[in-house]
Symmetry: C2
């Protein structure tokens, strides 16, 4: 993509009234724009990042056999009443010109369960799992921290339907493994943290927490083993000996919750009378689970973890482009040739072809945009190019063809 043909506008000023790193850097880099408290526009660069994150999520959801669908946001009141959630404080409501009332979806058990009711008859129809990547709304009085806590945000919500609790348990941990893969690919180190079960279950649920100072949750965890609990339910305190391994002391950290998994049990299938016939022909309630990831919140968490004074340092799989190609004075022809070759090879490249920007402006923008691989053509590189791959030792100048191979090897690692 040519810089001059793509809408990129980095900003010269830090945003006012923003303290979190993700709000600051996403604004400066021209990724997002704040429209109101907890409400953001994703500008073209930001949408590319969100799409990359969503692609990772989709691949791992499809890999565990879940099918993607798309449910509406505008949900008639009767759905919320059926599960007694019409009056939850976070529900945005609207009334239409005929007097009919709606709630804007902050979750979708209410809509999906009746759809499944018309499609599940016997044990042969189970298990099944469906997910969407969709916009959620939440009347959130404490909207803050950029993309971390919003009133409107992107959510991946997965729902699973099982014949019994044992099969739910199997799938629950399959989803946990898929989540670990997703966050590993996004280079987000997460702790799997025990948390309160909400209304649905006496068992703990599990949250996927990124331990960073900007987080709003408080997590107690052990560095020697996988013990970790949300403060809400914790029966330990900082500096206690770990109750699980006894090999280390408990530490305390803030955390950003980027995912969670819930055993819903039969709460929603009872409300909708979602039943199936077992192999003996007897009616049984379907057992459900639900599983969330916040892609836009994950985008914010990535920035909290990955930035320096000059800008964002996107992980490979979340970067808006794989290569930032820059033409500096004297390198214009060589950069054009490189761009043409990259395009032929199907390489995902942003080409800064501006002729009204100084070298300093181009390099500052490259820092703000934060793509891991930078390729420069200039008088100095002559008929070669200079390749800089983050966290790798510098390469000698090389040919355009060799540069592509080096970048492909870098991304395959």
């Amino acid at each position: 993509m040519r810089f001059t043909q793509f809408f990129i506008r980095t900003q010269k000023e830090w945003p006012r009234d923003e303290e979190s790193a993700n709000a600051k850097f996403l604004h400066r880099g021209g990724f997002v724009e704040k429209i109101g408290a907890g409400i953001h526009a994703f500008l073209p660069l930001g949408l590319r990042v969100l799409d990359k994150i969503n692609r990772v999520i989709r691949e791992e959801m499809n890999a565990i056999g879940a099918s993607e669908l798309l449910l509406p946001a505008l949900i008639p009141k009767k759905y919320w009443e059926a599960t007694d959630r019409w009056n939850v404080p976070i529900l945005y409501k609207s009334t239409d010109s005929s007097g009919q009332e709606y709630g804007l979806g902050f979750t979708h058990e209410e809509v999906l369960t009746p759809i499944l009711k018309r499609r599940i008859q016997s044990f042969r129809d189970l298990p099944t799992a469906l997910y969407q990547i969709q916009t959620k709304f939440r009347d959130e009085p404490r909207a803050r921290f950029g993309l971390i806590r919003g009133k409107e945000f992107t959510m991946k919500d997965l729902y699973s339907f099982h014949a019994d609790a044992k099969d739910l348990e199997r799938f629950y941990w399959t989803v946990a493994d898929a989540y670990k893969k997703i966050f590993s690919r996004l280079e987000l180190p997460v702790r799997v943290v025990e948390a309160a079960g909400g209304d649905f279950t006496k068992e703990y649920t599990h949250e996927f927490q990124v331990l960073v100072p900007a987080g709003e949750d408080t997590i107690f965890y052990c560095e020697a083993c996988d013990f970790a609990q949300n403060k809400e339910i914790a029966n330990v305190a900082a500096l206690d000996t770990c109750p699980k391994c006894a090999r280390a002391k408990i530490k305390e950290s803030n955390g950003i919750e980027v995912g969670n998994i819930f055993r819903l049990g039969t709460k929603f299938s009872e409300a909708a009378n979602l039943v199936y016939k077992d192999s003996a022909g007897k009616e049984q309630l379907v057992v459900m689970g639900s599983y969330g990831i916040g892609p836009s919140r994950a985008m914010g968490a990535i920035v909290e973890l990955n930035h320096d004074d000059a800008g964002i340092r996107w992980p490979k799989e979340a970067a808006p482009f794989r290569i930032h190609l820059i033409a500096l004075p004297g390198g214009e022809k060589q950069a054009d040739a490189a761009y043409k070759y990259f395009a032929e090879q199907g390489v995902d490249v942003l080409y800064d072809d501006r002729n009204d920007a100084t070298p300093g402006e181009k390099l500052t923008d490259a820092d703000l945009i934060g793509i891991p691989v930078r390729i420069i053509a200039s008088t100095r590189t002559a008929n070669m190019v200079e390749v800089t791959m983050r966290d790798e030792k510098p390469f000698p100048f090389q040919s355009i063809e060799a540069a592509v191979l080096a970048v492909q090897r870098y991304y395959a690692r």
Copy 2:
């Protein structure tokens, strides 16, 4: 994709209270599910169709140099007040727990114009064009006809920003050409119809209308030339001689509006004081255009035009998969081998691998799902397969490899 690993549930009954063909067939095929009047869920098959339509739209928008972004649906009241649209009847409103009011976006000039205001300084920043594919909300008392008129629906909205009316005019017709390409790829025959300009301009706007009985608009058109007017502005009647070519009589038809293009002029740039400095350093108002396509409505229009008694006949570029591969008794091993080969070749295939469905059920489902190419393996086909490509004469049985080549040629036509 294996049928047994993908959530497909065709329905045995026609929906109650639905008269339009798109509502009926999309329900029977398991593409969409009605959640309330004008509100639909897109089930996995339906989402695949919508994604295919959106892909065509994105390719043609990117080809004319527009950049994709994503704007919020929850829009604070002050944005609507700035353009005096807070009280338009179709706006859904909501009030949050702190008393702040929002309108749900039915269009996005209000949000985008201020974003551009911070990013346009001089004539060098123009022209520029931005689009999104996003969920719109519209308090629509007459929601009906399946996906044709909804309260919540998918919209592609494009906005363009120009230095003067002449440059807007150039881009306006560029968009018109892109729209013709999009609808041609979707095999939707459209008439470009003159219509009322709304508040913004004395010139006609242009609608892209599919002429079908299920449409809600009334169109007068000439079969001999490109003359066409919406009844709202028409100065002709049926059986009049065409005022443009005089070679034929005017016909009348219902139409479904699948796209429209507007010259906004300076209405919104005046409201937001969106100005730029011209080459003489003088401040000028930016001149704007806006351009819509309804992907979900287009999906409904496609079904209105393309169905027979047995089910939908999806156009090539909108079909949920390119090939429907079916294992009939005795052909299971051959079908498995074909699926494996197709997967290796990266072919987009739905494989009906069910062993608890009869041949009749599989063929009925294939009719309802409506993929243009069907490949069957059975005792009869032995170590070959039977390929049926819609609107082509039947092929003799052929090898798996030859089948793929034939299908690739079919889709390349």
